[in-house]
């Protein structure tokens, strides 16, 4: 913006100068809050995918040669069940990793099967357990979705809190702009009066305030988003949170970043519009 275009020097007031940094802080907090909500949403999505999954554990039989036969019989029995759509055997190497067995050891391992029930079905684990135990009496059937119960509760709370906090920070930014613009119009009453005497319309005057908000919000939005992006990457990396299901690929995907970048963008557009309306109303009262 050319210097001569800035007829009302809004960046000269303390409130005007502070607005950039205040908006930066609010954008920073809103992006972080939304990132938390997004991550929680991602976790809940992953948990929902596991809701219809069960793990069947077949202990190693005393006679090792029977293991494959038991596995095949249980698999066939489960596949014949109308509620079950898929049965996958978990590879022995993965089972070994899961159980933390040191390399080179040859202790007998249980056989694990992953069952996937029909979507939207409330699985009857008692019946399935009975079915499996008819072949291998010591077999155990575990509800995979149940394992993350506490985590799901936390994720649901975080999703709610994160969204509410993001909305709150947005509302705070709006309140800030309204307060600063009202105060700026009052503070600049002599300049406004002079410009009116020189033939400036209220539309022109309101546009001066609007442009100021646009520049300040763009600067603040950029600073806040950049700081939030760095914080998210550092936190995810340092906290080992990338290991959590659903978050592993989150930072590598463009969509979450685009959604987060929409926060400052929406804020800039909203604050600019609010600035214009507030200035228009305040100018009307100044007459």
């Amino acid at each position: 913006m050319k210097r001569s275009d800035v007829v009302i020097p809004l960046d000269r007031t303390a409130a005007g100068r502070m607005m950039t940094w205040s908006i930066a802080v609010l954008v920073y907090l809103a992006v972080l809050a939304l990132a938390v909500a997004g991550a929680a949403h991602q976790l809940l999505g992953a948990a929902a995918e596991n809701a219809n999954v069960a793990i069947v554990s077949l202990p190693p039989p005393l006679d090792a040669s029977k293991a494959e036969g038991d596995l095949a019989a249980v698999t066939a029995l489960l596949l014949a069940d109308p509620d079950i759509v898929r049965v996958d055997r978990i590879p022995a190497a993965e089972v070994s990793d899961l159980l933390g067995q040191p390399d080179g050891t040859t202790l007998p391992l249980p056989s694990l099967l992953e069952l996937r029930f029909r979507p939207a079905l409330e699985p009857d684990f008692t019946r399935v357990t009975g079915l499996v135990r008819s072949v291998v009496p010591d077999a155990v059937v575990e509800d995979a979705g149940k394992a993350g119960g506490a985590r799901i509760d936390v994720a649901e709370s975080l999703r709610l809190l994160g969204t509410a906090a993001a909305i709150m920070f947005l509302a705070a930014a709006i309140a800030l702009v309204v307060a600063v613009i009202r105060s700026a119009v009052r503070h600049q009453d002599e300049t406004v009066d002079l410009l009116r005497m020189l033939g400036a319309s209220d539309r022109f005057l309101a546009r001066q305030f609007q442009r100021h908000v646009l520049h300040v919000a763009l600067r603040g939005g950029l600073i806040g988003f950049a700081a939030a992006a760095v914080t998210i990457v550092v936190l995810l990396d340092a906290g080992g949170l990338l290991e959590l299901p659903g978050l592993a690929s989150l930072t590598a995907m463009p969509t979450p970043w685009i959604l987060l970048a929409a926060v400052p963008l929406v804020m800039v557009l909203l604050l600019t519009a609010i600035g214009r309306v507030t200035a228009g109303l305040a100018l009307r009262h100044l007459d």
Binding site: R196, L198, G199
Partner: protein
Amino acid sequence: MNDQREIIVQLIGAAMAYGSGPDVLRDIDLTLQAGSFHVLTGRSGAGKTSLLKMIALARPLARGRLDLFGQDVTHVRRHARPGLRRRIGMIFQDFRLLDHLTVFDNVALPLRLAQVDTKETEMSTGEMLSWLGMDNLAREFPPVLSMGQRQLIAAARAVVTRPALLLADEPTSHLDHDRGDRLMRLFMELNRMGTAVLIATHHAGALRRYPFRQLQVHDGTLWPAGPAAWQPAERIA
């Protein structure tokens, strides 16, 4: 004599008050025609500035009627004011320059507000600064200028649009004789081109050598004054 010149300002029985206070001006009848030149005198606080503000639509009338450029603007709507004000040049007693803008940008401001194209704005502003011998100060900012220089810049800003009406409040109060004379010649030049000029001053003596009609604000009312005083009831034209 039947004078057919366009009536720029007409006040009929006008009164003005600040807030709910008493009238500071009352029973004001005044007609200013295109090409007229009047000097408004009176003691400090007599109401000269208030009269200029009332004509410039800066203060509402408490009673009476104000016509500007042939239309009744007594209760003019807000959105119509900028168009009327762009036809009025006003020199404020306290200059009211914008300290963050250069001298050039201050003078060019009314042209920019009127959305005159950039080339013409630059040409008119440059010419105006040259006329006043201030072109060397174009890139300076008002705070570094003397009071006299600021007053000339304020005058340049008021006349750069060649307004139909020029209202000047003590326009030569900080100028030496030569500069004051130069500014008065600028006003007379504008006046010759049809601008109606109304200058308020409490130093009427300094303007005695100019052949302007004089008005006096006394006790909130407007009277003819000077060497050729009229009867109070006469409309002043």
